[in-house]
Symmetry: C2
Subunit: 181 residues, 2 copies
């Protein structure tokens, strides 16, 4: 697993081959089939680990719903930048033959639910009154994912990336928040 993440970080999906991973882990290629059910099984394990971490990072800490929503967006980006290999597997769709297992998809929806909960808490104080929480969650997620996937691919020309993302995130959230208007 460590070898796989290492290799992914170093040389991307191109270098992510069963033989290379096995070589890096000082192990036979067959071991990946015994322990992970092949390449897709290994990707499934990385996916699950990633979403487990992401859910933890996105969970609320403080009390103010609006602050917490913003913080969860920042946490999402922080996760992506600090766990690029995980993020690539989870969100970048770079592995052609891979679709997550049912169990892995479940872990993912649980992480997504964390965002829905943030929005519910916001709605309980009057924000986002005219929109379904799931719908808004999907929109915010899509927007952040779009922004960050470009950043991961290094297609971002902002000078201060942290600041620009904060500008982006608060801009997007404000657009849906009727209280701010």
């Amino acid at each position: 697993m460590a070898a796989a993440l290492q290799l992914l970080a170093e040389s991307g999906p191109e270098g992510f081959t069963v033989r290379a991973i096995a070589r890096r882990a000082n192990v036979a290629p067959m071991a990946i089939y015994n322990h992970f059910d092949g390449k897709n099984g290994l990707l499934d394990a990385i996916w699950t680990e990633g979403f487990t971490i992401l859910q933890r990072e996105m969970a609320p800490i403080g009390q103010d719903p609006k602050d917490e929503l913003l913080r969860s967006g920042i946490a999402y980006r922080k996760f992506a930048l600090e766990h690029r290999s995980h993020y690539t597997v989870m969100f970048m769709n770079r592995f052609v033959g891979f679709t997550p297992s049912i169990a892995a998809a479940y872990v993912a929806t649980r992480a997504f639910q964390e965002l829905v909960n943030h929005i519910h808490r916001c709605q309980s104080v009057g924000m986002f009154p005219d929109i379904a929480a799931d719908n808004l969650a999907q929109m915010l997620w899509a927007a952040c994912h779009g922004y960050i996937s470009l950043e991961i691919l290094d297609i971002n020309f902002a000078e201060d990336r942290d600041k620009t993302f904060l500008q982006f995130l608060s801009g997007v959230e404000r657009g849906f928040d009727v209280l701010a208007l």
Copy 2:
């Protein structure tokens, strides 16, 4: 080229193999090397064609900058849905060994510039006063791409997708538009 797009639409990047394309086009695999410089050359041709169409679709028609900006967003989505194969090559990063040629990248930046121009026109009537046009263009593009890439992958559970996208687009644009606040 038609065979390649057909195959891509039917079975995605998995079915996009040199041999399969050649078979579909009733042609020898070698032909793809003679005419397109291999698989990546073929992808490059699809990429270029796609961005040429996209630029045309995003060009302004009417006079009101704000309306035109919104319309260009809708045109972007329309392009993605009607040219899924092109969009996959251009934006989905599903082809591991492929990076566009310099010429192809130039065509892409020209299409992106069309969005920057929209924003310039908006700024000439007072919208988006406190943000660099390139920066905002990148944000809007990222948000739309994030949303639409999920829709292309069929990860969208809205009932009325057209309406939900419009809600998304106007929400995001409103968030950056100080005049609407």
